[in-house]
């Protein structure tokens, strides 16, 4: 074996040399003093380069933002959802037309009738959930998780896949507002049109105290679809009363369908500023679910994990969070 080139030495030192080559190199090095010296040199070089790169790290004290989850996710995408609904309705119109296509025996009346049906469906946007059921699942490649409702999942999927370039920059303190009262800064989510329609405006008077919307509210939290439940069932899930901050309207109570005994209460402190209380029948599951973010806007009070987000400055939010006892 001739002398080892530096690329191979670096691959070796990086632990990236395939086993056969590694054995060859080690055998060679054992006998070759110059190569051994070069190996030591290259090791020193790698260490110096690593040290230099470490100097170019993020400024000390920099804290990472939480994920675009865990509590991601309330993002309205009406302009993405509506085209999807239109696409579905057009597809349905064609399907209806094809099914009712005139056979040789039929008369012109039947053709007219089918056109009327097709026109009625097309004009009806957003499409009724039932028609989305019929059309949307066929357009999805992803298998629907068992816990999701088909209509919900398909609308969601259409919305998500329709998105190519419109991506939010998620940042605590920045509110995305798609024509409704801003709910939360840190969060993209696809809320299907039916859900939006069924939901009263957040923070609206009278929408409070553990009465989530009737219309099957669901929210995606790191890929899991949380379902809105009422205070009664939530108490059953937890085996105890649902914790909440007194005097602040409860926006939603959501249940984690994957982790038994986990409930999240969302309360709107002010318009757009939301406190989330994650409560768990078992403390450790709550910790596990929420340990990934490491946000400063998150703290643990007893068995509760509290997160806050909103359009306010970071320090204001921190102060608010501080008030939570």
């Amino acid at each position: 074996m001739s002398h080892v080139d530096e690329g191979t030495l670096h691959a070796y030192l990086d632990g990236e040399l395939p086993a056969a080559e590694r054995a060859q190199l080690e055998a060679h090095i054992a006998d070759c003093v110059p190569c051994r010296e070069r190996l030591a040199e290259e090791r020193g070089l790698i260490e110096r380069a690593d040290r230099l790169l470490a100097l170019a790290d993020l400024p000390a004290g920099h804290t990472h933002r939480p994920a675009p989850a865990p509590v991601e996710s309330l993002r309205r995408r009406p302009r993405l959802v509506v085209p999807a609904a239109w696409a579905a309705s057009i597809a349905l119109a064609f399907l209806t037309g094809w099914l009712l296509r005139p056979t040789p025996q039929t008369t012109g009346n039947v053709v007219d009738e089918s056109k009327q049906i097709a026109a009625a469906v097309t004009a009806d946007s957003p499409v009724p959930a039932s028609s989305r059921d019929a059309v949307a699942p066929a357009t999805r490649s992803r298998a629907s998780a068992a816990h999701r409702q088909p209509a919900k999942a398909s609308g969601d999927s259409l919305a998500v896949e329709a998105e190519t370039s419109v991506v939010p920059v998620l940042k605590p303190g920045v509110v995305e507002n798609a024509g409704r009262p801003a709910l939360r800064g840190a969060a993209p989510a696809a809320i299907p049109p039916t859900t939006i329609a069924a939901r009263p405006a957040a923070g609206a008077p009278g929408y409070s105290q553990g009465q989530p919307a009737e219309g099957q509210l669901e929210r995606r939290v790191i890929g899991t679809t949380w379902t809105a439940i009422a205070a009664g069932p939530a108490r059953k899930v937890l085996g105890t009363d649902v914790a909440q901050i007194p005097g602040i309207p409860v926006r939603d109570i959501l249940q984690n369908p994957l982790v038994p005994g986990q409930v999240m209460v969302e309360q709107e402190v002010a318009e757009g500023t939301v406190v989330q209380l994650l409560q768990s029948a078992h403390l450790d599951t709550a910790m596990m679910a929420y340990s990934s973010g490491g946000s400063p806007l998150q703290k643990t009070v007893g068995r509760l994990q509290v997160r806050i987000s909103g359009p306010l400055a970071m320090d204001s939010l921190l102060k608010l969070l501080d008030l939570v006892r």
Partner: protein
């Protein structure tokens, strides 16, 4: 994806931010871009989220750098003082000054060498780096060797004092 993307987030996010920081040199901006990359991943659900994230992040950082370069040209016209001032001895001990020197040294690498070095430092394997840059796997080691040598040399030639401080 979702659950494994959550895992990827936990294991990769800090590295991704660091990777971006060394491209845009602004911590907040790096966070912005990393968040955006993850949002895109949530929407696109790529098969190999980790590699995908770094590709997307690198592209975003490149666009960002082009924009910054345009702005800098304007600023340079306005700036009366020469930009390349030698740091004073006090500054040398300062993190910020050292960071700047590393940045300048990194700037002297070719884009490909720099990319490979930063990807390796971000925790990607040779295979992942090869897939991402189009290099042959065997060329990754050679590229890394060259990139490391140039980085160390460029940093060392910047200032004698800095070498002592190191």
């Amino acid at each position: 994806m979702p659950d494994d993307l959550a895992d990827v987030y936990r294991t990769t996010y800090p590295a991704l931010v660091r990777f971006l920081y060394r491209k845009v040199w602004d911590a907040e901006r790096a966070e912005d871009l990393a968040q955006e990359a993850f949002s895109r991943a949530l929407a696109h659900r790529p098969e190999n989220p980790r590699g995908w994230l770094f590709v997307v992040a690198a592209n975003m950082a490149r666009d960002e750098a082009r924009k910054a370069a345009r702005e800098r040209r304007h600023l340079t016209l306005l700036a009366a003082e020469p930009q390349d001032q030698r740091p004073s001895p006090e500054e040398i001990l300062d993190d910020e000054a050292r960071r700047r020197r590393v940045r300048e040294a990194l700037d002297q690498l070719t884009p490909r060498d720099r990319e490979v070095l930063l990807l390796w430092d971000a925790g990607l394997s040779y295979d992942e780096i090869a897939a991402q840059t189009g290099l042959a796997r065997t060329a990754v080691g050679t590229t890394l060797a060259r990139a490391r040598r140039r980085l160390v040399e460029a940093y060392g030639s910047g200032s004698e004092d800095v070498r002592v401080a190191r």
